[in-house]
């Protein structure tokens, strides 16, 4: 579908000349503005305004129920000296970026399998998408029990097999908890990478493979030299989207650890929630979320430039 690029509009001189009727709704410029209005109003009131309000709040010492006063950049500088915030920033990086190669590799594996003629391929495709489709809060609850210190089936299995003596407290230890959270994040991302890469694989012309096979390339060489260059673009865009989305995640960690144990597994979203809605420090919380902005903007602009280049 070659339709998603930003296409230059070609004006039809012949038409636009003769159709310029007196009717307000038929004039392109006025109709265009009118059609944009309903969506734009919603975006202005519930997106642009809160965004600037957030910037203002982050410069004040507002608390829930108490109007604040302008304090300049104090919230931002305070955070730079906050150990939990350092840990939070570090966690967010691991959570959003370090997980991407794992998602991409496992997604690639899935796509390569699904790209074959297999029986029941349609229901299988629908089923393997489930981790990506269903509400993350609810699937995370399933994992929450799978990682439970008492009822974990993983612990049960490992004890049965004689690997460990007693149950593992997956979410009670910092390293284990971060690993568990990242795993659930990877688990949820595999289908998205898988299906996107699959679409890329299916766009590879079979003749390319045939030609390479005739030239004596083996399977691995064909993969590296034919398939990989063809799906490079998709891999890049999918990875960037994945980073942008998981960077701003909330529910997965809220359900699994709420940032615990001892505030060691927070990411920006959950830490801002804790400071703002439990600690009632709205101004500080706004500053935490705004620390995300330059990083999100960086990845978004990178994504946009990349897409315009490939489109």
């Amino acid at each position: 579908m070659g339709t998603f690029g930003i296409r230059k509009k070609i004006t039809f001189k012949m038409n636009s000349g003769s159709i310029q009727s007196e009717n307000f709704l038929d004039r392109e410029s006025s109709l265009g503005v009118l059609l944009m209005l309903p969506g734009l109003i919603l975006l202005l009131v519930f997106l642009a305004y809160p965004f600037f309000l957030g910037i203002w709040l982050s410069l004040t010492d507002t608390r829930i129920g108490m109007p604040g006063e302008f304090i300049g950049l104090w919230n931002y500088t305070d955070l730079l000296e906050d150990d939990i915030f350092h840990q939070t920033a570090w966690n967010t990086m691991i959570y959003a970026v370090v997980t991407v190669p794992f998602k991409a590799l496992m997604g690639l594996g899935l796509a390569l399998i699904l790209n074959n003629k297999i029986r029941f391929s349609n229901p299988i495709r629908a089923f393997v998408m489930l981790p990506w489709i269903v509400p993350t809060a609810l699937s995370s609850l399933g994992w929450f029990m799978i990682f439970d210190p008492v009822f974990s089936p993983i612990s049960w299995l490992m004890i049965e097999m004689g690997l460990i003596e007693s149950n593992v407290n997956f979410l009670g230890d910092q390293i284990l908890a971060v690993t568990a959270i990242c795993w659930v994040n990877i688990w949820r991302g595999i289908p998205f990478f898988g299906i996107s890469i699959l679409a890329g694989l299916q766009a590879v012309p079979p003749e390319l493979h045939e030609q390479a096979a005739i030239d004596g390339a083996n399977k691995f060489q064909r993969f590296v030299n034919v398939t990989l260059p063809q799906i490079k673009g998709i891999l890049m865009i999918t990875s960037l989207l994945s980073i942008i989305w998981t960077f701003a995640d909330f529910q997965l960690i809220y359900v699994l650890t709420k940032g615990g144990p001892a505030n060691q597994t927070h990411i920006f979203g959950t830490y801002a929630y804790q400071i703002g809605l439990f600690g009632t420090e709205i101004g500080m919380a706004a500053a935490i979320t705004l620390y995300m902005f330059p990083i999100l903007a960086f990845f978004s602009i990178f994504l946009l430039r990349y897409m315009r280049k490939t489109a």
Binding site: M1, F12, L25, D26, E28, S29, L31, G32, M36, L37, G39, L42, L43, F46, L47, P50, F51, L53, G54, L57, G109, L110, N116, K117, A126, F127, M129, L130, P131, V134, P135, A137, L138, L141, G142, M145, I146, V150, F151, P153, W156, W187, I190, I195, S196, A199, I234, I237, L241, I244, W245, A248, Y254, F268, G269, T289, L296, S300, T310, A311
Partner: protein, 280 residues
Amino acid sequence: MMVGSDKQKTLQIYIPLVVYTLLLLFPFYWMGVVSFKPTSDIFDLDLNPFWVQRFTLENYLYLFENTEFASWMWNTMVISIVSTALSIFCSICIGYALARLKFPGSDFMGIGIFLVYLVPPTLLFIPMAQVIGTLNLFNTHWALILTYPTQLIPFASWLLMGYFLTIPKEIEESALMDGCSRIQILIRIVLPLSVPGILSATIFCFTLCWNEFLYALIFMSSGDMKTIPVGTVSDLIKADTLFWGSLMASALLGSVPVAFIYSFFVKYYVSGLTASAVKG
């Protein structure tokens, strides 16, 4: 392309496929198993936890009799449907305007709308809570109906703009010549030709509404106004995790509608999803 015996095919394709399927679906299997067990069996750690020894529906009954699950379901449905309808209406308008009409700022709008798509709720929830408070919308459906579209309109507009661009301009031009107005063209010609695009945008919006968590958590604090994800996480865990059965039942029931809709329209959804991934 796969040359080789059946045995080789089994080794290279079906075995990895089974491993993937087990890995990706295990949590759902686990939720199902726990939700159909009586509480006493869940707590009996000597039993094999991977299997249902005694089948029961008591956890599901508990959900409907002793919790607000039915209200959560109703809220989630109303909010998702109305918010989706609102978003699709706005997105059709924006998509058509961007695809076909030249107006002041139209070039810049396309990129602007796309960048907005990348502004996550996490960035806005603190000030948004104040806006909702000022408008007196806490614990009303409107709080979510009006805020979800900001997450949906950008992507849906892009998707629909792409579909509208595939419709040959000549059809619209000849209709214009015949004296149709732009609005008539949009309703009678463009929309019927864009049904697949509108369907995939609708499914996309609906699943996102159904799955949203952060805004729902903050704006809906009273028990009977919650959505399924928020109600399940905040009201069913409170009892110190004694109710694993009903907790898993609720998580599973709340996942069924999106899974169901998705499996029916998988073709449209995937094409929508990949349209964004392939060409952006």
